[in-house]
Structures are given as structure tokens and as C-alpha cells.
């Protein structure tokens, strides 16, 4: 059997990934009345707040234990406890997530013990503290997101009486996407517990007075009842079992697990709706059938334009898979597919999915943008789909970028990008098609003139 090639290089040049605690912040922001504190030096929290705020255009409050030299040498327990005290004073949260950083992990901080000790000492009443180990060197923000989601479920879930609410586990998608999934579930008359749910907390309406912790998010009590659900639908087919909240609920409490891709694209949305239908037995409402028909109409209207696209797709594995699948069903063939993390599932899934594709996608695990650029040039890519760092491909290679995923910090509206479900897919596909058309018209006259007028005069 061919061994999986590991992407070896000594220096990463223009990264396509971020660190674990960055990913860990997001699930906590999807819990009602939750705050996060990073155990490490002050900069980590500030950099991540800046990055997340740039994407969502929302205030992102993340505390830090602000470890200094003394804390690093003699242990940061005192700093972390003081940090917890102050977070409670300032925010009065119901849940505090503690995420570690490279520094805390390297000096060997035992945050489980410190947290337990804190609760014993302070007796903080109705406060739940969830410590999560997220060393910056241990993986990317993708693993950070999932290990945090799993740890939260592990901490809060309790053996409960059976109930009717299906668990829906949400990956790192936009608040608009989360709201769209809710709308579809409402149309199908499904009762559910959605976790994490940052659709309101990271995309809140303008309202007065200002609330330091925004309204919304999954209620901790609902998370604790997830073991009583009839099933879990985890939107995360590239997620490793070891960090999967759905797998945890299945193994610990016997909740049947259905794993589905992000419902972007016709097949992926069909699959999502089919799984929900199967679990609940409710028929698909006519209005959704109409939406599906409109998507089909959109796909046919645009198919010839889309066939001109040769795409490079990059970002988190879960999103990369869904986007690649959408491109495959529309003829915008993905010729380069890259993720900053190492994900065996993605490689296998993509190979299977693209078996009938006339061009074989070149898949890069643990990619950086220098490699992505090189491969995009070799494969004559004319369209990039991914987060804002792909602007590098536009600047260096003139490849237009359809912004998608996280982070989008050089344009507004990352939080409002709608791409899931039949309607969202049509909107996403329009963004792709229109980018191809814009590029075509930009170069059409000069291109043909150069190619044929000059050629005939030679």
C-alpha cells in the first residue's frame, strides 16, 4: 500500500492554518452567557480577538491569564485564578472556558486540577468551568475547534431521559449558514439542540443597551440533555473520531450518530435533508422541493460558464470538502485542493468523490500558500475559493478569489455569507459564476485582439 506522503518542509511560508486555541474560542462563543480565558501570555488573546473581530465585525472579548516571567517560571496557577475572578466580576458568565496556549502547555500547567481547585476554593455557585487543552503546536485551529466542542459536550452532558430533540453539531460556518440550517429544520418541523450556535452571538443585531455578552448561544442545560436525543447529526465528515462530539455521545450514551458534510451543493443538501427525514420520519415540505428546483435551474443556467472554471480550493478540511463537492457537480473542476492541517479523511473522501472527474484534483495536506501558489500556477488555475489569505494568489498570480470560510478580514460581511441549503448553494454558485464572468469580460476584448488580430498581421 502506498504510504501517505507527509508534507515535509523546514519553514512554513505564508500559512494556511492558525493555532488550536483560536479554533477553541468559537465553540465557547456559541454557548449562552459564556466567556473564554486563554491561559498564556497576553498576546495570544489579543491577536485572536483581533482576527475574529475582523471577520465577524463584532466585539470579541477573550480574557487572558496574562502570564509573565514569574508565572512562567513558578507556575501560572495564581494568574489563572485571578483571571477567573476578574472575568466573573466583569462579565458574570454562566460558563467559562479555559483554553491553554503553547506556553501553558510547555510549562506543564494542569488546568483540570487548577479549575477543580478553584471551584473548591471559591464555590462560584452557578458557574461551569470547562478546561480544554489546546496547545498551539498540537494541531491547527480546525482540531482546536473540534476538540473544544467535544470537551464541552463531555463536560456538560448527563444521562437524561429520552426526548425528541435531535442533536445538530455545527462546524465552523457562518452565522448566516447556521440560521439557514435552523430555517430548514423549522420548515421540516424538527425539534433540535444545536451546538455550538454562534448565529446570534457573533452576528448580533444593533440594539440598545449594549450587552457585554450577547444574547443567544446554546443553553448549557440543553447541552447537558444531549445524551437523551434520538440521534446526533454531526456536520463533520472529516472530523476525527477522537475529537468528535457525536462520536462521544454515541460511545458514552448510545446516541445514534449520522455524519454528514456541510450542506453546500445539491448532493450534500439532499443528504442532509434525507438524514433528517430518516430520523424524524417527517416528509420533505413542498417549499423545500421548490427551493431545490430553483437550485437545479440555477445550475443549468450557469453550467457552461462554470465549465470554464479550474479552481483551487483551500481552508479547513470540512469546508474544503463541501466546496469541492459543489464544484465537482457543477463542472468547476477543483484542480488543486489544499488544507493547512493533515486530514486523512479528506484525502480519501475527495478521491472517491472525484473518481469520475476528468481532471484529478491535486490534494495538499499541511499546505502553505507558497505551495498552493506554485501548484495553482502549474495547474493553470483560474479561480480560487477560500478565506481572505487567498488574496495573495490574486495579487501574485492574478487568480480571482471567491471569499468563503474563515477568516474574511479584507472584505465586509464574512458573517453574512450564505452558502448552505438549496438557496444558499445557489447564492454561493452565483458568486462563483459571476467571478468567472467578471474575469472573462475583463479580458475578453484585449485577449481576442492580442490572440487573433495580431496573429493575422504577423
Amino acid at each position: 500500500m502506498k504510504k501517505e506522503t507527509v508534507n515535509v518542509r523546514n519553514a512554513t511560508e505564508n500559512p494556511c492554518h492558525m493555532c488550536m486555541p483560536m479554533g477553541g474560542i468559537l465553540p465557547f462563543k456559541g454557548i449562552e452567557r459564556a466567556m473564554v480565558i486563554l491561559h498564556g501570555s497576553q498576546g495570544c488573546a489579543t491577536y485572536m480577538r483581533r482576527h475574529i473581530a475582523g471577520h465577524f465585525n463584532e466585539p470579541i472579548d477573550v480574557a487572558s491569564s496574562s502570564l509573565n516571567e514569574k508565572g512562567t517560571v513558578y507556575g501560572g496557577e495564581g494568574s489563572l485564578k485571578q483571571g477567573l475572578d476578574n472575568v466573573r466580576k466583569l462579565y458574570n458568565p454562566g460558563v467559562i472556558g479555559i483554553l491553554t496556549t503553547c506556553l501553558a502547555e510547555t510549562i506543564g500547567e494542569d488546568i483540570d486540577r487548577i479549575a477543580a481547585n478553584y471551584v473548591d476554593e471559591r464555590k462560584p455557585g452557578n458557574l461551569t468551568i470547562v478546561p480544554v487543552s489546546t496547545p498551539g503546536y498540537g494541531g491547527t485551529h480546525f482540531e482546536g475547534y473540534w476538540v473544544t466542542a467535544k470537551t464541552i459536550v463531555g463536560k456538560l452532558a448527563q444521562k437524561t431521559k429520552k426526548h425528541r430533540k435531535i442533536n445538530i453539531i455545527i462546524p465552523n460556518i457562518s452565522p448566516a449558514d447556521i440560521r439557514e440550517i435552523k430555517r430548514i429544520l423549522h420548515l421540516m418541523d424538527v425539534e433540535y439542540t444545536m451546538f455550538p450556535d454562534f448565529s446570534d452571538t457573533l452576528d448580533r443585531p444593533f440594539e440598545k443597551p449594549y450587552l457585554k455578552i450577547p444574547r443567544g448561544g446554546t443553553k448549557p442545560a440543553d447541552i447537558s440533555r444531549m445524551p437523551g436525543a434520538p440521534a446526533t447529526v454531526e456536520i463533520g465528515i472529516t472530523v476525527d473520531d477522537s475529537v468528535s462530539p457525536g462520536k462521544y455521545l454515541e460511545e458514552q450514551y448510545g446516541v445514534p450518530l449520522y455524519r454528514v458534510p456541510i450542506p453546500i451543493g445539491l448532493e450534500n443538501t439532499d443528504r442532509f435533508i434525507e438524514v433528517i427525514r430518516k430520523i424524524t420520519g417527517t416528509p420533505v415540505p413542498e417549499s423545500l422541493e421548490l427551493e431545490r428546483g430553483r437550485l437545479l435551474d440555477c445550475m443549468i443556467d450557469s453550467h457552461k460558464y462554470n465549465f470554464q472554471g479550474r479552481s483551487v480550493i483551500f481552508g479547513e478540511p470540512e469546508l474544503v470538502y463541501a466546496v469541492s463537492a459543489t464544484c465537482l457537480e457543477n463542472g468547476v473542476f477543483p484542480v488543486v485542493v489544499a488544507t493547512g492541517t493533515r486530514n486523512r479523511k479528506l484525502t480519501a473522501l475527495l478521491k472517491a468523490k472525484s473518481a469520475a472527474c476528468p481532471v484529478e484534483p491535486h490534494i495538499i495536506n499541511e499546505a502553505d500558500f507558497t505551495q498552493i501558489r506554485e501548484m495553482a500556477r502549474q495547474k493553470k488555475v483560474n479561480l480560487a475559493i477560500g478565506h481572505s489569505d487567498g488574496r495573495y494568489l490574486t495579487e501574485k498570480e492574478g487568480i480571482p478569489l471567491v471569499r468563503m470560510g474563515f477568516p474574511i478580514h479584507d472584505r465586509v460581511g464574512g458573517q453574512r455569507l450564505l452558502s448552505v441549503g438549496y438557496t444558499g448553494t445557489a447564492m454561493f454558485l452565483d458568486r462563483i459564476t459571476n467571478t468567472l464572468l467578471e474575469n472573462k469580460y475583463k479580458n475578453y476584448r484585449s485577449g481576442m485582439f492580442e490572440k487573433f488580430y495580431h496573429a493575422s498581421n504577423e
Partner: protein
């Protein structure tokens, strides 16, 4: 407006860093470590070092550590280059678990090899991050060996995040620059009417704007620290006859060292606002005590002021009765902003910085009106509270502060390293007034008040 009872500040330890002008005699305490759990807006030592050094355009900037530190700082700033674009890349050793266990020295050495061979750089800065010191990597030794191997300069930057606050990072960057510019036995030939410009990072071409003013005065810029600077130009830094410093927080240390080592005198300047720009240009001219330079300087100030003064003053009427809050990185910016707001008829009612120094806070205290809240190392809770209590219509700040202002229904000025428009000099003063107008007088606010 009633006095703000400071005794109900939520965190007791924060009280000493917040004062109200005229209300209390107490001295504001600054340059302290941030308090855990307060949600400080400050970054870390690495951030301070990276901000200062990154505009060196033809250097390899290699971050030795796990990926985050490099990832969050990839080409996020608006520093412009007239030559190499190498500085706009983000290079990292991307340390993984096994490196943390077995040490990252080998990987670092190979990373330098890879980058130097590929990009043919003459200068490499290697930034230390939090864990480098903890896992015991000998940065000095690896850099020294790499420098010898490639015959170039490889300079370690001691910027582990936890060894202090952002200001400690400025110092680490200055130490790295000092290593670079020390002549090491070479004879230094002084160049007349030639100055170094410290503390301008050429955001949106600001260093170029000032260079052009100086040129019109008959003064050449030797090298700018560090906006649009290059290896060879930096090496010639000791040849200047004067250092002018704008961003004092980051560069005063380097200037005082250069005075000590190369006998270069320095003066503090600021090119933010009409008043400070004219005043700074005059003080530079005074230094040369040359009638031709003085004449040309006055001519420049006259013609530029005539061009922009009416535009700026035209806005005053529109801003009548408006109040501003300021929360920025350094003290010089805060001081200039008070004056600049005064030029357009706006009162500053709250002002703070991440890394201001004692003397800068003293100046701030002299400049602001009674009742103004002055605070160091503020957090979102305090910003929200004092902006609301003081009735600010506008906040000046960075990316993290922007959404807070907007959620409070308050206008916002981007005075950060991300911005893509110059705020320096006469042209910058016009841009500033226009930006204030664009946000303060936008029609959107009438729907939310």
C-alpha cells in the same frame, strides 16, 4: 455631568491606572503588567518587536515558534515599500509537538537555510516566541552559525511573549537594530544635512510624505526606522547628523543609544495635525541654523497651510459640540490627537493608551480639559463605560475597538497600522478631518439614535 465615582471600578487593581483630570491629585500608574482576566487590549512582546521590525523590506522575518504568532501577523499592516516585497511574507518554523519535546534548533537552522537560499536575503531577523526560551533553544548560537555559514547577518530578536508587555518588544526590536547598525570598526563618515527618521512605519506612504517635505526644506533623509528601509540603508544609519523621532514609545531607546554610541543628537517630532506638523518642521530647521533651510521651511509651511487650512477649518462648523474618545497604542499619537481634535473643534473627553509612558501621560494631563478621563491599559468594560458616561460621539482606536464603538452607536476613526490612508503631514490633516466627517456625520446614525 456628575463626577465619576471611581470607587466602583469593577477591578480594584485597575483604579490606579484611571484618573479624572482635575478631580484627584493621584498620579496615573502606567507601564505595568496587564492584570489577568481584565481583557486588556494589549498584545505581547513579540507583537511590539514585529511591529517595529517588519517594515524592513528586504529582510527575511522568520518567526521561531508554533504557527499562530506568524499566522496572525501575515501582511496585516499597511507599510509600503519602494523596493523589495520580501517583508510581506510570513515565515515560521511552525513548531510541532515533537519539536517542543526534542528542541527546535535543528529545524530553525534548516529553515534559515531554506529561506536564505530561496530568497537570497542579506538579512534575517529571527523572532523568539513564548516557548523558545522554555524549551531551551539557543537562538544566539543557531543565528551565529547560520550567519557564518551564509556570510550574511542573522539577528535574533528576543521577543518571547511573556517577558514583559508590548513596550518590551519595542526594546527587543531596537536591540536587534542596534546590532545591525553598529559599524564594527568601519569608519563612519558624517553626512551634513542628512537625518534619520525614527518611528515612522510608512503606513500608506507617510514616511514618503515627510521625506518630501524635508527634501523641500533642503534636508535629506538618510534612513527611516523602519518604514521602507533596507539592509544597506540601515547600515549607514550612523552617518546621520540628527535623529528625529516620531513614535517615541518604540524609538526613544534606540535614539538615546545612538546618541551614546554615534553622538547623534535627537529631537521628538510629530507630523499628526497642522499644528504639530508645522511645529516639528520648524524645530528641525532650527537645528540646522541655516537661513536657507529656514526660508524654505517657512515657505513650505506657508504654502501647504494655505492649501489645507481652509478645508480643515471648513469642517469645524460641522463638528460643533462633538466629543471624542481616544484609545491608541502609544503616547505620542494620543498627545497629537488631542491637539488635532482641537484644530477641528472637537473636545477629547476620554483618552488612553496601551503603552504610554509617565512623561507622556503628564503631557496628556496638561493638554486635556478638566473632567477628562485618562486611562492606561484599558479594557472593553472601561472603554464602554467611560465613552457612555462622558457622552463621546466618536472613538479613535484599532481593529478590536471598532466593533465596540459601532455597537454603542459611536463613530470611529481607524488610527492603526491596518489603515490604507495617510494621516501624517498636511495631507494627513485633511484626510483626518474628512475621515471624522465621514463617520461623525454619516446619515446612518439618525436611524439608531
Amino acid at each position: 455631568m456628575a463626577a465619576i465615582p471611581l470607587n466602583d471600578v469593577e477591578i480594584k487593581e485597575r483604579e490606579k491606572s484611571i484618573v479624572i483630570k482635575g478631580k484627584q491629585k493621584k498620579q496615573l500608574i502606567c507601564d505595568t503588567e496587564s492584570i489577568a482576566g481584565c481583557v486588556s487590549q494589549r498584545a505581547c512582546v513579540y507583537c511590539g518587536a514585529r511591529v517595529v521590525l517588519n517594515p524592513v523590506t528586504d529582510a527575511v522575518h522568520l518567526v521561531h515558534g508554533p504557527i499562530g504568532c506568524a499566522s496572525y501577523t501575515w501582511d496585516i499592516r499597511g507599510s509600503l515599500s519602494s523596493g523589495s516585497e520580501l517583508y510581506r511574507n510570513s515565515f515560521s518554523t511552525d513548531l510541532k509537538e515533537e519539536d517542543v519535546i526534542f528542541g527546535g534548533e535543528k529545524k530553525l537552522a534548516s529553515a534559515i537555510d531554506q529561506l536564505v537560499e530561496k530568497y537570497r536575503a542579506e538579512l534575517v531577523f529571527v523572532y523568539s516566541t513564548c516557548i523558545v526560551g522554555v524549551i531551551g533553544d539557543d537562538l544566539e548560537a543557531v543565528c551565529k552559525a547560520a550567519a557564518q555559514k551564509h556570510g550574511i547577518e542573522v539577528i535574533p530578536v528576543q521577543s518571547s511573549g511573556f517577558i514583559g508587555n508590548k513596550a518590551a518588544g519595542y526594546r527587543a526590536a531596537c536591540d536587534a537594530l542596534l546590532r545591525l547598525i553598529k559599524p564594527g570598526g568601519r569608519q563612519v563618515k558624517k553626512r551634513e544635512k542628512c537625518i534619520n527618521y525614527l518611528g515612522d512605519f510608512n503606513l500608506a506612504g507617510e514616511a514618503w510624505i515627510i521625506r518630501n517635505y524635508l527634501r523641500q526644506m533642503g534636508v535629506e533623509v538618510n534612513v527611516t526606522f523602519t518604514g521602507d528601509s533596507r539592509y544597506t540603508a540601515l547600515k549607514k544609519a550612523p552617518e546621520a547628523c540628527l535623529n528625529i523621532i516620531q513614535c517615541a514609545g518604540s524609538m526613544n531607546y534606540l535614539a538615546s543609544k545612538m546618541k551614546e554610541l554615534f553622538d547623534i543628537p535627537y529631537i521628538n517630532v510629530s507630523f499628526l495635525g497642522l499644528e504639530d506638523t508645522a511645529d516639528s518642521l520648524r524645530r528641525i530647521a532650527e537645528f540646522f541654523n541655516d537661513s536657507e533651510i529656514t526660508r524654505r521651511t517657512e515657505e513650505l509651511i506657508r504654502s501647504e497651510s494655505a492649501r489645507v487650512k481652509l478645508i480643515v477649518e471648513g469642517y469645524r462648523e460641522k463638528f460643533r459640540g462633538k466629543k471624542a474618545a481616544v484609545y491608541v497604542g502609544g503616547g505620542f499619537k494620543a498627545i497629537s490627537l488631542i491637539k488635532q481634535f482641537r484644530e477641528i473643534g472637537i473636545e477629547v473627553v476620554m483618552i488612553g493608551t496601551q503603552t504610554g509612558r509617565k512623561d507622556e501621560y503628564e503631557t496628556i494631563n496638561e493638554l486635556v480639559n478638566d473632567g477628562t478621563v485618562v486611562l492606561d491599559d484599558a479594557n472593553p468594560t472601561e472603554l464602554e463605560r467611560f465613552m457612555t458616561e462622558k457622552g463621546a460621539h466618536l472613538l479613535v482606536g484599532g481593529v478590536k475597538e471598532r466593533p465596540l464603538a459601532y455597537k454603542l452607536g459611536v463613530a470611529f476613526i481607524d488610527h492603526n497600522h491596518d489603515r490604507k490612508h495617510p494621516l501624517s503631514g498636511f495631507v494627513g490633516a485633511v484626510n483626518f478631518a474628512e475621515e471624522v466627517y465621514s463617520t461623525l456625520c454619516s446619515p446612518v446614525w439618525k436611524y439608531v439614535r
